[in-house]
């Protein structure tokens, strides 16, 4: 790579990181505000204003950054920052607002799955480094939850990729490939449709665990562990985790949109240029909102917190079986259509 190419790449990385970090934080906090407001209304409360998460972050920056006696200070301080940065880095590999990923050539879907583990691990390491029994129990629960939901998630990703591979498509783990051949367009008969619908439900149920939301929030469990792995965190360190949560919400919703709803409105209504771009961005934001509404807000309002053994059971038995049934239905889709035609 020549000097010009390298400097162009560096400028893209700097501007891309700045732009997408701003996007992820602003919309992550905004969606958090909407989620809190909507869930409050569903429970018959007025709830905080939409801008409350922004105020929370601003307030945390003015609070003392307490480091407990038994903590390992450098890990305790560094790890919230690592979690936030890793989450923001995922945004650069994701298609957002109808645009292709900024660094599509930098990594594929498998890389994103691995990068998604870093923020969860940051929570675990932060909890262990706190030196608090509550935080250690919370960290252990977070590890158990991570191990539990990875299985159905892996089956889901493999099914989407395998289905594209069967159609003779190459580079099946690329988001541009998935966007060019959406899963619903690859369905031959009702079995494939039911299979992918099951897999979509599985992914919507994996999302609250990825985000440590009710009913899978036993690692934090305010009423039981007083915040669990975050119990000793305060001030700017807690603000980093708060921002990570917001950005990760956008990341998870964007992954669901990219895998299952990669459609743009401008192509349907024949809009071009700037109007088309604006419509596509607004449509993407609406899709992200709907995903958050169904996978976070509605679930956390409707269901009580599960115990950690119930969480493991939910992911390893019903949801893994559901994802395997989805996989089998997708596999049989083409065969059944050929038999009956």
């Amino acid at each position: 790579m020549d000097v010009l190419g390298l400097s162009e790449l560096l400028v893209r990385i700097i501007l891309g990181t700045l732009g997408l970090a701003t996007f992820g934080i602003i919309f992550g906090l905004f969606y958090k505000g909407i989620d809190r407001k909507l869930s409050a209304h569903m429970q018959g409360r007025i709830g905080p204003p939409f801008r409350q998460p922004f105020r929370d972050v601003a307030k945390l920056f003015t609070k003392e950054n307490i480091i407990p006696d038994h903590a390992i200070p450098w890990i305790f301080n560094l790890i919230p920052l690592i979690g936030l940065i890793a989450t923001i880095s995922i945004l650069l590999y994701l298609p957002l607002g109808g645009f292709p990923p900024l660094f599509a050539s930098g990594g594929d879907l498998i890389v994103i799955l691995y990068l998604l583990i870093i923020p969860s691990l940051a929570l675990v390491i932060g909890g262990f480094s706190s030196g608090s029994p509550y935080a250690i129990i919370g960290a252990q629960r977070e590890m158990a939850t991570m191990i539990a939901y990875e299985f159905p998630l892996a089956v889901l990703i493999i099914t989407v990729a395998w289905n594209l591979l069967q159609k003779g498509i190459t580079n099946v783990f690329l988001f541009s490939t998935i966007a060019a051949a959406p899963v619903w367009n690859q369905v031959a008969g009702p079995l494939g449709f039911i299979g992918f619908a099951i897999l979509l439900v599985v992914l919507l149920l994996v999302t609250p665990a990825e985000l440590s939301k009710i009913p899978f929030d036993s690692p934090e469990a305010e009423t039981e562990l007083a915040g669990g792995l975050l119990v000793e965190y305060s001030g700017r360190n807690l603000a980093m985790y708060y921002l990570t949560d917001g950005v990760k919400t956008v990341v998870m919703a964007s992954i669901i949109v990219a895998l299952f709803f990669p459609y743009n409105l401008s192509a349907f209504i024949g809009l071009g240029s700037y109007t088309g771009i604006i419509i596509d961005v607004l449509f993407y934001l609406l899709k992200v909102f709907l995903v958050i509404l169904f996978s976070v807000t509605l679930i956390r309002v409707a269901i009580a917190r599960l115990k950690i053994d119930q969480i493991v059971y939910t992911y390893w038995i019903p949801l893994t079986l559901a994802s395997l049934v989805g996989l089998i239905l997708v596999m049989w889709d083409q065969t059944m259509v050929q038999w009956f035609s």
Binding site: L9, L10, I13, I14, G16, T17, A21, L60, F61, T62, K63, E64, N65, I66, I67, P68, D69, H70, L81, L84, I85, I88, S89, L92, F103, S105, G106, G107, D108, I110, V111, S130, G131, S132, P133, Y134, I137, Q140, M143, A144, I147, A148, A161, N171, V172, F173, A226, V231, E232, G235, R236, A239, M240, K307, I308, D309, I311, V312, Y313, W316
Partner: protein, 111 residues
């Protein structure tokens, strides 16, 4: 450039490290705006235990085996059955191996 390819997937670690480094500089700077002070050697720095007196570190220790509680409890039926199958007799293990292999060939043959 510098992409690692597995045949079906790829990753450019150098690019990720660059992204990580730039994001680190940015957020380390932003984090610097937050308050960094606190009152050392006060009750503030003791672990929160719902108002209970903090015992010694040895007593407070949570065993790592606690991690597996969720798994052993939720999969109790499976573990009980597995324990029954774990007879310690080598011929039993060979038998299980043959049965599983036969099932695998059956599935692969059908597919």
């Amino acid at each position: 450039m510098f992409s690692l390819e597995s045949g079906s997937g790829f990753w450019n670690p150098i690019l990720w490290v660059l992204i990580f480094f730039i994001a680190f500089l940015l957020f380390y700077g932003i984090r610097g705006f937050g308050k960094s002070t606190y009152k050392k050697d006060t009750d503030q720095t003791k672990a929160f235990l719902s108002g209970n007196q903090e015992p010694s570190a040895e007593v407070m220790h949570v065993k790592a085996s606690n991690l597996y509680w969720g798994f052993t409890t939720s999969m109790k039926t499976v573990y009980t059955e597995l324990r029954k199958m774990h007879t310690g007799n080598a011929s039993d293990y060979v038998l299980w191996f043959v049965i599983i292999l036969a099932c695998l060939f059956l599935i692969m043959g059908v597919m």
